[in-house]
């Protein structure tokens, strides 16, 4: 099927190694990885980047991303990243965190890094579940969602309500850009990439803390096909987590 005079218009970004990942079929992590890599490539940041993947399904991200990385203990990504950025202010520092990591065990680290206005870009993969450990309730698990620790579905009274950490972070002065996007559609992915770029720009411009929340399918733990997982995000998850800009004090001209 080779055509002599064809132009490759979609291929692998340099910031991503040419290896297979361990992610399950249809997993949003894989897509998010690519978007991050594409943005770094396009912005020429790869060689300045230090990434911090904490524990979660993406703990092995250092096997896939083609730049410097250090594993953080579960929940501590933003503390580790703070140490890095303060020592090397010229580096581009990003964390790549799951919802359990960022909004449960790491709540304090997340909020205080944002509150300090650390010049860090945070990619927040909200799949409403603890992926790596096998599908327990996450702080972001939505009401009614069945998980291995909410076998009857999450109930607000017994298990608490899904946490909207992005909106909480918006209260922090130091957080200047927060947007919620999704990875369950072509359009969503396109928009997610725009948001990631903008988030990175915020750090490059030294404005403050930036975060992009990505609604992300975890077909394995939802016990769904990838397609069903996409639909579930549309029909269920977005009700709890409406897409859109949550905070923007960057002063950038709209895009």
């Amino acid at each position: 099927m080779s055509a002599p005079a064809a132009e490759k218009i979609f291929g692998r970004p340099e910031s991503l190694k040419d290896v297979a990942t361990h992610y399950c079929p249809g997993c949003g992590h894989s897509v998010a990885h690519r978007l991050v890599a594409e943005c770094l490539d396009e912005m020429g940041l790869r060689e300045k980047t230090i990434g911090v993947p904490p524990v979660g399904c993406a703990v092995l991200a250092y096997n896939y991303f083609n730049f410097d990385m250090v594993e953080a203990p579960h929940g501590r990504a933003l503390a580790v990243a703070t140490g890095i950025k303060r020592v090397r202010p010229d580096s581009f520092v990003l964390t790549y965190q799951g919802d359990g990591d960022l909004a449960a065990i790491g709540t304090a680290e997340t909020i205080h890094a944002a509150n300090r206005g650390e010049l860090i870009s945070c990619i927040f993969i909200n799949n409403a579940i603890y992926g790596m450990t096998g599908g327990q309730m996450a702080p972001t698990t939505i009401i009614g969602e069945v998980t291995t620790t909410t076998p009857g579905g999450r109930e607000a009274k017994a298990h608490g309500s899904p946490i909207d950490i992005s909106r909480m972070l918006a209260v922090c002065e130091g957080a200047v850009y927060i947007e919620r996007c999704t990875l369950n559609s072509f359009k969503g992915i396109k928009q997610a990439k725009k948001a990631i770029r903008k988030c990175f720009q915020v750090q490059v411009d030294g404005l403050g803390f930036g975060l992009v929340e990505l609604l992300s399918p975890c077909p394995t733990n939802m016990k769904m096909s990838p397609k069903q997982a996409w639909q579930w995000i549309d029909n269920q998850m977005m009700k709890t987590y409406p897409l859109g800009l949550i905070k923007d004090t960057t002063g950038y001209e709209d895009k």
Partner: protein
């Protein structure tokens, strides 16, 4: 003639079939043979029945979680 085509890396493909769902031209299908890892990969339909074929819209590649698709535009 088709404006473009895609290449699917059979062995990188994990058979999520999201590309098949999004392709507006329906020029991707499930392969009958499993790949090395045991998944049923997607495969490109080079010559679809309606004769229109791929537009190089990249939708399949954008949604592909496993970077198994490259998209080419005919020059």
């Amino acid at each position: 003639m088709a404006k473009g085509y895609i290449k699917i890396d059979r062995d990188r493909c994990k058979g999520c079939h999201l590309c098949i769902d999004v392709c507006p031209r329906k020029v991707i299908e499930v392969s009958k043979e499993l790949n090395k890892t045991g998944y049923a990969p997607a495969q490109f339909i080079e010559k679809p029945e309606d004769g229109k074929g791929c537009t190089a819209c990249t939708m399949c590649a954008v949604v592909c979680p496993d970077l198994a698709i490259e998209v080419y535009r005919a020059k």
